[in-house]
């Protein structure tokens, strides 16, 4: 098994765990954590493809990942802020009870 394959396996696993967490957890914060995990899996893929790709000397992959992490951080902050706002409004963070998106 090549290191690339290993990296991709790890990242796939990470993504699957994240997805499972995001889909199954009732708590909004934990769902957000799952989403962060999936994001990180994507970041891992970027690093892996950059490191084992045709032009490892260029720092493009690294740049993208750093950019992505920055956005993820902002996103996590916005997400947490939303969760807190929702919690204040509904007095709960349980996603099953927040169903105002119902069509």
């Amino acid at each position: 098994m090549t290191p690339l394959q290993g990296c991709l396996l790890v990242s796939a696993l990470l993504f699957a765990i994240g997805l499972a967490g995001a889909v199954t957890r009732r708590n909004a914060i934990l769902a957000l954590v799952g989403i962060e995990l999936m994001l990180n899996a994507a970041n891992l893929n970027f690093i892996a493809f950059w490191r084992f790709g045709p032009h490892p000397e260029a720092l493009s992959g690294l740049m993208v990942v750093i950019f992505s992490i920055a956005i993820a951080a902002a996103e996590a902050a916005v997400g947490l802020a939303l969760i807190i706002a929702i919690y204040r409004h509904y007095k709960t963070a349980n996603l099953d009870e927040i169903r105002n998106l119902k069509g």
Binding site: V23, D96, G103
Partner: protein, 705 residues
């Protein structure tokens, strides 16, 4: 042109004006109404005398004196229709007769109608009648004649129905108008035909009139489809009008019923003048009747189809009505049938003997029949409105003047020889009938009629004036007095009483005329004949003794005496004691008497045929209207409605329903799909995850190399 011929129109217009003034005045002014009516008649009479004098003055100059004048009435097709009046002997004699008899009857009416609440209206109608009748007399134009003729019919209608609160009077009035109108339609058709053939309706117009030579020849040579000369066909149609107005068979039914009117009306309209207008009409258009397709001698002309019809209708009516009169009990009805019968004589006279013969009887009859009717009016008045001869009797002691005058009238009507006018005029008719080449039967019918006439008049006089008084008026009055109530009638009730002078004086004057008038037309001095034909006649006693004339006079005298004797033997000798006992004839011949008493059931026959036919026709038309024409409309409506329903069905159940189903399905589908949107973010995410997996699987393995 003489002054009077120029102003002849004044004679009818005066009474018409009087009628108009009375009509617009208020009801209570009785005095004014009577004065106006009588004054207008006096002036009309004086003018008539003046006209008569003028004609007499020109008598014998050359042919018949005749002057016409008139005015343009209306215009069509650029031509004027001219209405003319004429002054000739026929008009003059009729004018004098009509205005004189009218005047007397007007005076009589003042007494007779004195207590009627509609006194003024009575005089209004009477004046209207007199005016229209005088208009009939002077007309030189068939249209003017027809106009006046119809107005005369109207007044007859109004006066028969004068006591309109009686249903019988209202029905009789209607019957009179409609029956005469049947005849009038014939007259109308005859008139328009005559107009179409000759282009004029003026009788005489200096050779251009429709009764003058050129027009007559044209019509006589023009033959209709049925092979009849046009003149004959027109003559017969015009005669139909006369049949209606003069109560000839078969249109006689209205005249006896017309006795529902007040008695002066019966005397004036339904005895003396209006009913005679039919005879006058035939006399007026006589030249038309004598035209035959092939011109021939005088004697041949007297047997033209038209004149044969006139003769036969007259003869049959004369005997027919006389026989009915035998079995009547109403004093006025007896006279009414007598009138019908005498009118038949006049027609017979016209048919067999020409204008003079018929007209002579018309004039004499007018006087003695007016006398008889007024006499009967006086009797009815005296007996407190009783009209049944069985309830009279012995009145000669109570009403001496009436009796004397009535006897004169009765003898004149019966044709008592030599001294009474009826003898001469009837005799002349019988003479002419005897000479008539057409057939001997009318002569025999006339003789039989004369016998019956003498008989029923004797019966009537015997029942009314002889024997014991059988009335109930006295008892009624006694009962009323014993109950303390007012006497039932205005004049106190009780005994029959003589009428006031205003009623008896006209009777006396008429009685005098009934005697004297006969002498202007005796065979020895046929002045009347000469007057109408424009010839001067000399007194010639020898003519009386000519064998044909003499023996016929003897024969007719014998007939009259037989009738009088028979009547007296049956009714005068054995006067009836009570009102209820059956008639002598009824005992002897119950079946025949019943037939006669019911007037040969003519009314019933009409009821069963003509009237029922009319009602049935009305019903059929109503049915056609309601169900056939109306039904067609309904059918169209239904078809339209049916189509509309069909459209509605397709609309509702095909078009609309399909659309609705589509919409419902769509809505329900949307509802189901919307359930997926349950608002749980994680289920959305789940879907996204599954979708991602599916996408990935598809991208990896699903793509064909």
């Amino acid at each position: 042109m003489t002054w009077i011929a120029q102003n002849l129109w004044l004679i009818p217009v005066l009474p018409l004006m009087a009628a108009a003034i009375i009509a617009v005045n208020k009801q209570p002014q009785r005095q004014l109404a009577a004065t106006l009516a009588i004054a207008s008649m006096v002036f009309a009479f004086l003018l008539s005398l003046c006209a008569f004098g003028t004609v007499l003055g020109h008598h014998g100059e050359h042919g018949v004196f005749r002057e016409v004048a008139g005015f343009n009435w209306l215009q069509f097709g650029g031509q004027w229709l001219r209405l003319d009046w004429v002054l000739d002997p026929l008009t003059a004699i009729m004018l004098v007769m009509v205005s004189f008899v009218s005047l007397l009857i007007f005076i009589f009416s003042v007494g007779y109608m004195a207590h009627d609440e509609n006194f003024t209206r009575f005089f209004c109608f009477l004046s209207l009648f007199a005016g229209a009748m005088l208009g009939v007399v002077i007309a030189n134009n068939l249209l003017l004649f027809f106009v006046c003729w119809e107005i005369v019919g109207l007044t007859s209608y109004l006066l028969i129905g004068f006591w309109y609160h009686k249903p019988s009077a209202a029905a009789a009035a209607k019957k009179a108008f409609i029956t005469t109108r049947i005849g009038d339609l014939g007259l109308l058709l005859g008139m328009v035909w005559l107009y179409a053939e000759t282009g004029t309706l003026n009788f005489f117009a200096n050779g251009h009139g429709c009764l003058e030579h050129s027009a007559l020849t044209a019509m006589a040579t023009h033959v209709t489809a049925a092979g009849m000369a046009v003149s004959t066909a027109i003559g017969l149609l015009i005669f139909l009008g006369a049949v209606g107005k003069s109560g000839q068979l078969p249109l006689h039914v209205w005249l006896p019923d017309a006795m529902e009117g007040p008695t002066p009306v019966s005397a004036l309209i339904h005895a003396a003048t209006m009913v005679a207008a039919g005879v006058f009409l035939v006399a007026r258009v006589f030249p038309l009747m004598t035209q035959a397709p092939i011109a021939g001698t005088f004697m041949e002309l007297h047997t033209t189809t038209a004149l044969q019809v006139v003769t036969w209708v007259g003869a049959i009516t004369a005997i027919f009505a006389a026989s009915i009169a035998v079995a009547q009990n109403d004093i006025k009805r007896i006279l009414a049938y007598s009138t019908v019968s005498q009118l038949g004589y006049m027609m017979l006279g016209l048919g067999v003997g020409g204008v003079a013969v018929g007209m002579f009887h018309l004039i004499t009859h007018a006087f003695f029949k007016a006398l008889l009717f007024l006499g009967s009016g006086s009797v009815i008045h005296g007996c407190h409105e009783e009209q049944d001869v069985r309830k009279m009797g012995g009145l000669k002691n109570y009403l001496p003047v009436t009796f004397a005058t009535y006897a004169v009238g009765m003898l004149a009507l019966a044709g008592f020889p030599l001294f009474f006018s009826g003898f001469w005029s009837k005799d002349e008719i019988l003479h002419a009938a005897h000479r008539w080449p057409g057939s001997p039967i009318p002569f025999y019918l006339g003789c039989a009629g004369a016998l019956l006439t003498a008989f029923y008049m004797t019966r009537q006089v015997a029942l009314v004036f002889f024997g014991e008084y059988r009335g109930r008026a006295r008892e009624v009055a006694d009962q009323a007095k014993s109950r303390g109530a007012n006497p039932p009638s205005h004049d106190g009730g009780g005994e029959p009483h003589e009428s006031p002078g205003v009623m008896t004086i006209p009777l006396v004057i008429l009685a005098v005329c009934a005697i004297l008038l006969g002498f202007i037309g005796t065979p020895a001095w046929p002045w009347f004949d000469g007057f109408l034909n424009g010839e001067t006649v000399q007194f010639n006693r020898g003519k009386l003794a000519e064998s044909g004339t003499f023996w016929l006079m003897v024969a007719s005298a014998v007939i009259v005496f037989a009738g009088l004797g028979l009547g007296w033997w049956l009714y005068g000798n054995r006067p009836r004691k009570t009102p209820d006992e059956p008639d002598v004839l009824q005992v002897a011949q119950p079946f025949a008497f019943r037939l006669l008493a019911n007037k040969y059931f003519v009314d019933e026959i009409y009821e069963a045929t003509v009237i029922r036919l009319n009602t049935r026709a009305a019903r059929i038309c109503e049915f056609l209207d309601r169900w056939i024409w109306g039904g067609m409309v309904l059918l169209v409506t239904w078809v339209t409605l049916g189509l509309a329903r069909l459209y509605r069905f397709t609309d509702e159940f095909l078009v609309d329903a399909g659309f609705d189903t589509g919409c419902d399905t769509l809505r329900e589908g949307g509802g189901e799909i919307s359930e997926w949107h349950n608002g749980r973010v994680q289920s959305y995410l789940r879907v996204m995850g599954v979708a991602l997996v599916v996408l990935a699987l598809f991208l990896i393995w699903g793509r064909k190399p």
